[in-house]
């Protein structure tokens, strides 16, 4: 039972972690990207759409990533080049993706896209030796390729953020745009990069969610994971490792809600709220902790 929950924790953390480490860049560049949700949904939809018609998995992954990048470009163009309101644009993208998906499903005369011919077990990786370790083996082994990739990417993103020009410039742009401009850094370019990294990672999260785990797409299956990722980014203040830890906490909540509801009988629906309630509570606690010494009255001390 416990090993089941912990296994699921890793399973459900994966898409959130991907969104978090991708979204961190936009957060650090001071562009609030709330379109993570839509970008993830588009990754999920496009990958399943391509698999359904071609059966070609690499093509599906590539298509999903391209769709994410296109949305990222759209978001950046409207929000950065045209200086639109990023919240409105983000909301618009989220609604647009879900609308397009609904429309296509309607044309296909179906409520979902499901591919029976490919078994999801082909994505599972059993790690030799480790899978034989009692308890731990059951938790760590047997996940999908993207899951392992996502944990590895936490490290890559850390390196990218703190040890490369890209990372330093993105952080500089977010903290003091004038400082960046005064030494000739093209600020818009780094904002674009920050958003596009987030878009790419979110699309990958969508692939993991729909194709890799279920071979199934239903509309709005992302169920707010993109927003939970934003909460995790905020809690971790854009630090890749800390934010990922928060992502894992939310993954645990998700695992609990799913696993416990199987034992709950008629009240099972109630457990679905666990991740959302936890998100609200964690956000409140982090906020209280951060501002506990704030003596400024009437407005937040920045």
């Amino acid at each position: 039972m416990i090993s089941n929950i912990l296994f699921d924790m890793i399973l459900y953390s994966t898409p959130i972690i991907l969104c978090v480490i991708g979204g961190n860049f936009a957060y650090k560049a001071n562009v609030l990207n709330i379109a993570l949700e839509g970008m993830m949904l588009s990754g999920a939809f496009v990958s399943m759409f391509i698999v359904y018609f071609t059966g070609n998995i690499p093509l599906a992954v590539a298509g999903a990533l391209v769709s994410g990048l296109l949305l990222g470009l759209l978001f950046s163009f409207l929000g950065i080049t045209c200086k639109g309101n990023v919240i409105v644009i983000g909301l618009g993208i989220n609604m647009m993706v879900s609308g397009i998906a609904a429309f296509v499903l309607r044309l296909m005369n179906s409520s979902n896209i499901y591919v029976k011919t490919i078994n999801v077990s082909i994505f599972k990786v059993n790690i030799p030796l480790i899978e034989n370790i009692p308890f731990i083996g059951k938790i760590i082994s047997g996940h999908t390729v993207i899951t392992y990739l996502s944990f590895f990417l936490i490290f890559v993103v850390w390196l990218l953020m703190y040890r490369t020009k890209l990372g330093i410039y993105v952080r500089t742009v977010g903290e003091d745009e004038d400082a960046a401009k005064s030494v000739g850094i093209n600020t818009d370019f780094y904002k674009y990069m920050a958003v596009l990294i987030g878009a790419l990672f979110s699309a990958l999260a969508g692939v993991n969610l729909a194709m890799e785990n279920l071979m199934l797409f239903t509309n709005n299956m992302t169920a707010g994971r993109g927003f939970i990722a934003i909460a995790a980014i905020y809690c971790g203040q854009g630090r890749p490792v800390t934010s990922s830890l928060f992502a894992i906490i939310f993954g645990l909540a998700w695992a609990l809600s799913v696993d416990l509801s199987t034992y709950a009988g008629s009240a099972s629906g109630l457990f679905n709220v666990v991740p959302y309630v936890l998100m609200t509570v964690v956000l409140a606690v982090v906020s209280i902790y951060r501002y506990k010494n704030n003596k400024m009255r009437g407005y937040k001390f920045e």
Partner: protein
């Protein structure tokens, strides 16, 4: 040889001509000061030189060659660097990261070579004897240290010409001396230096030549030896000015205390004590000045006295009534007038009209109401009254406050606060960024208000202002009051020492 030369450089913003056919030539290895009032066009000129603004017409020559800079990066590679008034540093990054920002040393084409970066910055620091730790974060540095980082940033890019925009505005008198020394050091190392400033005293100390700009035009260029402070001031303003306020410092005997602060201590959001045991009083008919380098607790003191920040320890009394932790609105109702530090973020609402702003904070006054609704006939009459009485120059009476120049906006705040007849005025940086004419006016108003038997608490980072107006000066250092001096018996240097935290324990 002229290392920098501008020929009939002009910049227009719409119909407004910010720079009108400016021709300046700066010789190699000189220190050139460019002086002028706020809004005279100094910064516009420098921004054109530095590639931040595109000239409407005219040409720039650097080292004899015609140049067109499209960005600061262009200017830097052309050998021209600028140290801005507001430092362009990233607080959460370290010194070496900031110095090499945009110029990183990389290994294997991708990763940053941290070791080599630290090493090269350390060498640079030692070469110019700047006394900094390359690994320290900017947010932990003092203002003077930050300025040195900013200079390093330019030096590591091998510039020959350094432009400084109001470099001494944020320094203590001692830091200013050190800064002037470093400029001379840089000059003897072959650099050419251009300093924009309006502080004439420093100009006389450091310049080789001085160019005066007024209303976007060059009024003249003079050698230091051939001019005086007063002459420069006249060139800047275009008429005779008195640099010293006609203030007869008052001997304060045993007049009644109207304001008293007892053992005030305040912690900031990071849990650090920013005010320690502050006690002082203001008597009737007295101006008490608080001097100190910015960032030594003055802002927090103002915030706690005016109700923007909660106070845990200590008490504040106004004429026997306790006013500790009163909200700004309660302070104003209890006859404390407040001139806030930042006029457009705390004193006025830029997008509202002049009329709305002339009642801001005093909405509850019955005199502007008709039944309990705001009566705009009365409010507009009040506004017109302020405008006439305080000589506030507005383009359009019904327009937004944002259209006003700094000086006129400040006059509106002063009109509003003084006309509500407070018994104590808390004036913070009352003349920051205000033209000389308005400074004279505001100073006279404050002195006049004091003479009619009220108390003033004056907080300013301009030491000369504090010296000229105050009857008693308190000096703050690291959140404490480290000295209380009489301006008539003390020199600027002595106060400077106190501001730098060097004081005689017994005397202080």
């Amino acid at each position: 040889m002229n290392i920098v030369e501008t020929v009939r450089l002009t910049k227009k913003f719409g119909d407004f001509v910010a720079n009108n056919a400016i021709s300046i030539s700066v010789q190699s290895q000189e220190i050139r000061c460019i002086v002028g009032e706020n809004g005279a066009g100094k910064t516009t000129l420098m921004n054109m030189l530095y590639g931040l603004l595109k000239p409407t017409s005219g040409e720039i020559f650097v080292k004899g060659k015609k140049v067109v800079f499209h960005s600061p990066a262009d200017a830097i590679s052309g050998g021209l660097g600028m140290v801005h008034q507001h430092f362009k540093l990233v607080p959460s990054l370290t010194i070496y990261e900031n110095v090499l920002l945009g110029n990183e040393i990389v290994k294997s084409r991708f990763l940053i070579n941290k070791k080599k970066e630290i090493e090269s910055v350390r060498e640079l620091i030692e070469k110019y004897k700047f006394d900094l730790d390359p690994l320290a974060k900017i947010e932990d540095l003092s203002i003077g240290e930050r300025q040195r980082v900013e200079i390093l940033k330019m030096l590591c890019r091998n510039v020959d010409i350094l432009i400084f925009d109001e470099p001494t505005a944020v320094l203590t008198p001692q830091e200013v001396d050190k800064f002037i020394d470093s400029l001379k050091e840089l000059r003897s190392n072959g650099k050419t230096i251009i300093v924009i400033t309006h502080k004439l005293r420093e100009v006389m100390e450091l310049a080789d030549h001085i160019t005066v700009i007024r209303h976007g035009k060059v009024i003249g260029t003079v050698g230091k030896a051939e001019t005086t402070e007063t002459e420069l001031a006249q060139m800047m303003v275009g008429r005779k000015v008195t640099l010293d306020v006609a203030n007869h410092h008052k001997k304060i005997g045993d007049q009644k205390e109207i304001y008293r602060v007892n053992n005030l201590s305040v912690m900031n959001s990071y849990g650090r004590k920013v005010l320690r045991d502050i006690s002082f009083s203001v008597k009737k008919g007295e101006i008490v000045g608080i001097a100190g380098v910015e960032g030594n607790g003055q802002s927090e003191l103002i915030d706690s006295l005016t109700g923007l920040m909660g106070v845990k320890q200590g008490q504040i009394f106004l004429e026997d009534q306790e006013v500790t932790n009163f909200w700004p609105d309660q302070c104003r109702r209890n006859k404390i007038g407040i001139i806030p530090e930042d006029r457009f973020s705390q004193g006025l609402c830029a997008t509202m009209t002049v009329a709305d702003n002339s009642i801001a904070g005093y909405h509850r006054n019955q005199s502007i109401r008709h039944w309990s609704l705001l009566d705009y006939r009365k409010i507009n009459a009040l506004r017109d009254n302020y405008i006439e009485q305080y000589d506030i120059r507005v383009g359009n009476r019904n327009g937004e406050v944002g259209q006003l120049s700094g000086g006129n906006a400040q006059k509106l705040i002063i009109a509003r606060e003084l006309e509500n007849k407070p018994v104590l005025l808390i004036a913070c940086q009352p003349t920051r960024g205000v033209d000389i004419g308005s400074i004279e006016y505001i100073h006279t108003k404050i002195v006049h208000y004091r003479d009619s038997g009220n108390g003033v608490l004056l907080i300013s980072s301009e030491l000369s202002e504090i010296m000229a107006l105050s009857d008693r000066i308190l000096v703050m250092y690291k959140g404490k009051i480290v000295g209380c001096v009489n301006p008539e018996e003390t020199s600027q240097e002595q106060i400077g020492l106190l501001m730098a935290g060097i004081y005689d324990e017994q005397g202080g």
